[in-house]
């Protein structure tokens, strides 16, 4: 039985259940289910028990903790003191973090219990979790399918009930696409809302931490805890983040929802298209006014993203050189050591992006690639700004399909296109989330698979965004209708 963070925090806060007891249940479930699902790379049982004891003491002492006893899964590209933090890469396979990421620390301070570190595409580069060098994560709805990525382990952990809240990181869709694939809520706040300190960088100007949960309310609870200025992250914004959880609404009266003209659904499979069209109708039924908006440059999103993100990654990943930490493969001199270490430590997709990015930044190409991509990025942001003159939020698919089978996307470019609907929001730095919006059963599937509706709001309008998502969720209850079919098989 999957439980929401809100219900756990409520019962622990009222003394109806102990954090220690809930933690033992979740650890037992995780020990049973994780070998099949592969959500966790590391289960931090001792740390979880220690935190649970501490939370029970704090609650007993009368402290009010918004996430008391809530089992937390931490994506393994976020530092947690004393735990192995791998980025699902051989180059960090044995690295123990000496400090804790700010966002994770805030969740722990609020009473969350760290159950483990979750799998991801290596260094968060991928859309299926298949680029992990350290393990396979399976979609709890169908174990033959990918969970999506890069936050595949985090969404699988929440979908399988191995955590009530998971942290994800989203650079071009890495929270939203897997959340859609696994039928959970995945929320990427505005760039700068949540500190990146302790998040191992992929593309710094795009990376953003966000919550993954069963419900919109849970995401709001976790977001409220994580959001806010951090003196350790110069790009975190110094704006008051009003608590969003109390502002959740149940109807959409007076809300204008933009439907993007350029996001033509005609190219999608008929049942997928029907599902999204039904979702738009539901928005209308709940009181929203649908308006057509235009994002003329959205089509350039993927191309733009695949210059900026690799450029930043080529620099961010330079530090994995075998000198101070992580894998070292010795060579006759320091240059040979670098080459041998990086050749052995990085997987093919990471190497591909480092090469693309190195090329895009190199002398003679910088203006043609990196500078042009930055200009395109400005145009994408300007498109959104114009669109938001006519609407309060934009609705569109989180992904073009439901979860696919392993090895279905062997050519990198077809994988890159998985983020077609999520990349423009990342380029513009906007808050966006995926909320379950129904199910489809592709011909090659033996059971229904979830789809996600993506909702996007203007920068720093998280409160409005979560409110709209909550109203949609309450008015449709897609997630509540079905549980992942794989749960019984894996003993969850």
């Amino acid at each position: 039985m999957r439980r929401t963070a809100a219900s756990i925090a409520r019962s622990v806060g009222r003394g109806e259940a102990g954090a220690a007891e809930i933690t033992e249940e979740i650890l037992a479930l995780s020990e049973r289910a994780n070998p099949s699902v592969g959500a966790y790379l590391t289960i931090t049982a001792d740390l979880a028990r220690a935190h649970a004891r501490r939370v029970d003491e704090r609650v007993a002492a009368g402290e009010s903790l918004p996430l008391a006893g809530v089992p937390l899964a931490v994506k393994d590209n976020m530092c947690l003191t004393g735990t192995r933090t791998t980025c699902a890469s051989k180059i960090l396979a044995d690295w123990t973090a000496p400090y804790t990421a700010t966002a994770v620390q805030r969740l722990l301070d609020a009473g969350a219990i760290p159950i483990g570190k979750t799998n991801l595409d290596e260094f968060a580069m991928g859309s299926s979790c298949e680029n992990s060098a350290l393990g396979v994560t399976r979609n709890p709805w169908d174990l033959e399918r990918v969970p999506g990525g890069s936050s595949g382990g985090s969404v699988a952990a929440v979908a399988a009930g191995m955590a009530a809240i998971a942290t994800g990181s989203d650079t071009g869709g890495s929270i939203r696409e897997p959340a859609a694939f696994c039928g959970v809520v995945g929320f990427k706040p505005t760039y700068g809302r949540i500190s990146r300190y302790g998040l191992i960088a992929f593309a710094s100007s795009l990376d953003q931490i966000g919550p993954i949960s069963l419900t919109v309310e849970d995401s709001a609870l976790a977001y409220d805890v994580m959001a806010g200025k951090d003196p350790f992250d110069a790009t975190s914004v110094d704006l008051v983040a009003d608590a969003t959880a109390p502002a959740l609404r149940d109807d959409l009266k007076g809300v204008r929802v933009g439907i993007v003209r350029e996001f033509d659904l005609a190219g999608l499979d008929a049942d997928v298209r029907a599902c999204y069209e039904a979702a738009y109708k539901d928005l209308e039924r709940l009181g929203a006014e649908l308006v057509e908006v235009s994002l003329p440059t959205a089509d350039y999103g993927v191309a733009t993203y695949y210059l900026i993100a690799p450029a930043e990654c080529s620099s961010n990943l330079a530090r994995f050189d075998g000198v101070r930490y992580g894998l070292r493969v010795d060579g006759p001199d320091v240059g040979a050591m670098y080459e041998a270490t990086r050749a052995a430590g990085f997987g093919p997709e990471v190497k591909r992006r480092i090469l693309i990015g190195t090329h895009a930044l190199s002398s003679g190409y910088y203006d043609a690639y990196y500078v042009r991509a930055q200009k395109a990025r400005t145009l994408v942001a300007a498109d959104f700004a114009r669109a938001f003159e006519a609407c309060d939020a934009i609705a569109c698919p989180s992904a073009a399909s439901a979860a696919f089978r392993f090895n279905a996307k062997s050519d990198p470019y077809s994988m890159y296109l998985m983020d077609y609907y999520t990349i423009p929001m990342s380029l513009a730095g906007l808050p966006a989330l995926s909320v379950p919006c129904g199910y489809v059963q592709p011909p090659d599937a033996s059971r229904p698979l979830p789809l996600g509706l993506q909702l996007t709001a203007p920068a720093f309008a998280e409160r409005a965004l979560l409110g709209i998502a909550h109203a949609y969720e309450a008015g449709t209850r897609h997630a509540a209708q079905m549980e992942p079919a794989g749960l019984a098989e894996v003993g969850a």
Binding site: L92, Y99, R196, Y197, S204, P231, D233
Partner: protein, 487 residues
């Protein structure tokens, strides 16, 4: 061989470690000489996930340094990443500034010892982070090539570093040193850096080329590195100019390259040629937001002209303080402040400078106590005034100075109490002169016969008779008067 004369064209690039409590992008202490790898944290070690946060004081130091030389401070500047692999650079990129430095332009003015005024334009001053420090073991020359192992100390990694780049306005080794000294005294006066070459808080490279005298085109330049004192800067540039001249005289061509200065052999040697130059792949650092400044913020950071050494130097020179003395005063912050307050009271700048740099400077040297601590302001003022008024002579000055050094006693009171005042009364001195001339008939006759050098002997006799108190100037004047009078 030909008789062509050449002109050197020199530009300087120097790195100045800023004096701040903490490093450029983290909270680690910025101190020299700590145990290796003790002032480090996830940020300056380039740990996965760590992020830089700029040090506001370092930004202000750099802006103040620029403003001191009338540089322009743009309203908008940014940090960039300079990408290259090196074991002592934790992130394998250096946070620096590429095309939008925090200060641009400016002029450094300086006076050579012979009084010639020169100036050199600054291209820019930008802010960056220092690297760690490598020590290579097991090789003959301490270089990485052929070494058996390398040790890295990251205490210096992330220390704020200003890079100052000059235009090629410098024409000699002596000017290069004068330029660096001008930078140094300004940075020290502003408190932005200790500027100690021996501790590496000032490191400098020189771009050197030569061209036929009168030519307007630049010759091919070489970049000289590894100079670790002002003296080695001077020697290295002289040596490089001579090397280039010899090549051109022999009909050869200069190769554009980086050359290392060897202190022992006194020559430069080739380190790498331009073809091996890196592609640093600069791009704006996405972890840092742009630096935006309002005119009001910039104005608040502007140093007051009177606090700048070049201003004080100009004032001193205008007040007829000799250039060398003026530099000596300005280069010693304690002495400079002391000089300023003393000169303000004596209203005699040159006399004050001459006084402070003579006997008090000697005493300071011998005792290890700086002048402004050995001597009270009141004592200095009184001594200068006693001399200026003719109340005491140089001998009494020395004696009284030694008594008040470190005691705080009043020289005027000592002179008064002990009757050390010079006798300047014309009548009294005339009486001494009369007595001596009466007793020294032979010398008087010698003088009148043309042996004028006996005057000094006679003067000594008068001083002796007066117990050393007669005003020597007046003594000489009256002696000459009496001796030239018809007997």
């Amino acid at each position: 061989m030909n008789g062509q004369t050449y002109e050197a064209v020199i530009g300087i690039e120097c790195h100045v470690e800023l004096r701040t409590e903490t490093k450029m992008f983290c909270g680690c202490r910025n101190v020299f000489g700590a145990e290796p790898n003790t002032n480090v944290c996830p940020v300056c070690l380039g740990m996965p996930g760590a992020l830089p946060v700029p040090n506001r004081v370092a930004l202000e130091h750099t802006i103040r340094a620029g403003l001191a030389f009338a540089a322009e401070i743009p309203a908008y500047s940014k940090f960039d990443r300079k990408n290259y692999f090196y074991p002592d650079m934790p992130k394998d990129y250096q946070i620096s500034q590429y095309d939008m430095p925090i200060t641009s332009g400016g002029v450094v003015e300086y006076v050579l010892d012979d009084g010639t005024r020169k100036s050199c334009r600054l291209t820019r001053i930008h802010l960056e982070e220092d690297t760690g420090k490598s020590t290579h073991g097991g090789s003959s020359d301490g270089r990485i090539a052929g070494s058996a192992f390398s040790l890295v100390d990251f205490n210096r990694a992330g220390v704020p570093l200003m890079e100052c780049v000059s235009e090629p306005d410098i024409r000699s080794a002596a000017e290069a040193v004068a330029f660096l000294e001008a930078l140094k005294r300004t940075f020290v006066a502003l408190g932005v850096s200790d500027v100690k070459m021996e501790e590496g808080s000032l490191r400098c490279d020189a771009n050197v080329s030569i061209r036929p005298a009168g030519a307007t085109e630049y010759g091919t330049k070489t970049e000289i590195k590894n100079m670790n004192s002002f003296r080695s800067v001077f020697r290295a540039i002289e040596s490089e100019i001579a090397r280039q001249e010899a090549i051109l005289r022999d009909g050869g061509r200069i190769v554009q390259e980086t050359r290392g200065w060897d202190e022992v052999t006194g020559t430069t040697h080739s380190m790498r040629s331009k073809e091996e130059a890196h592609d640093y792949r600069y791009f704006p650092d996405p972890d840092l937001t742009p630096i935006e400044l309002t005119p009001a913020e910039i104005d608040r950071m502007r140093p007051r002209a009177e606090d700048l050494p070049q201003h004080m130097l100009a004032v001193l020179v205008a007040e007829n303080v000799p250039v060398k003395r003026a530099h000596q005063i300005v280069d010693d912050a304690g002495l400079a402040a002391f000089y300023r307050s003393v000169a303000a009271k004596t209203k005699a700048p040159a006399a004050t400078a001459n006084f402070l740099l003579a006997d008090p400077a000697r005493l300071a040297n011998e005792s290890g106590t700086p002048v402004h601590e050995g001597l009270s302001e009141r004592a200095a003022v009184e001594l200068i005034q006693l001399v200026a008024a003719g109340t005491i002579g140089s001998k009494t000055l020395k004696a009284v100075l030694e008594r008040v050094w470190g005691t705080g006693e009043s020289p005027a009171e000592i002179v008064e109490r002990e009757g050390l005042a010079q006798v300047s009364d014309r009548g009294a001195v005339e009486a001494y002169v009369r007595d001596v001339l009466a007793a020294q008939g032979k010398s008087v006759a010698d003088y009148r016969a043309g042996k004028t050098n006996v005057l000094q002997f006679l003067k000594g006799q008068v001083m002796k008779t007066s117990g050393g108190k007669a005003d020597p100037v007046l003594v000489e004047e009256l002696l000459k008067e009496s001796l030239s009078a018809t007997p």
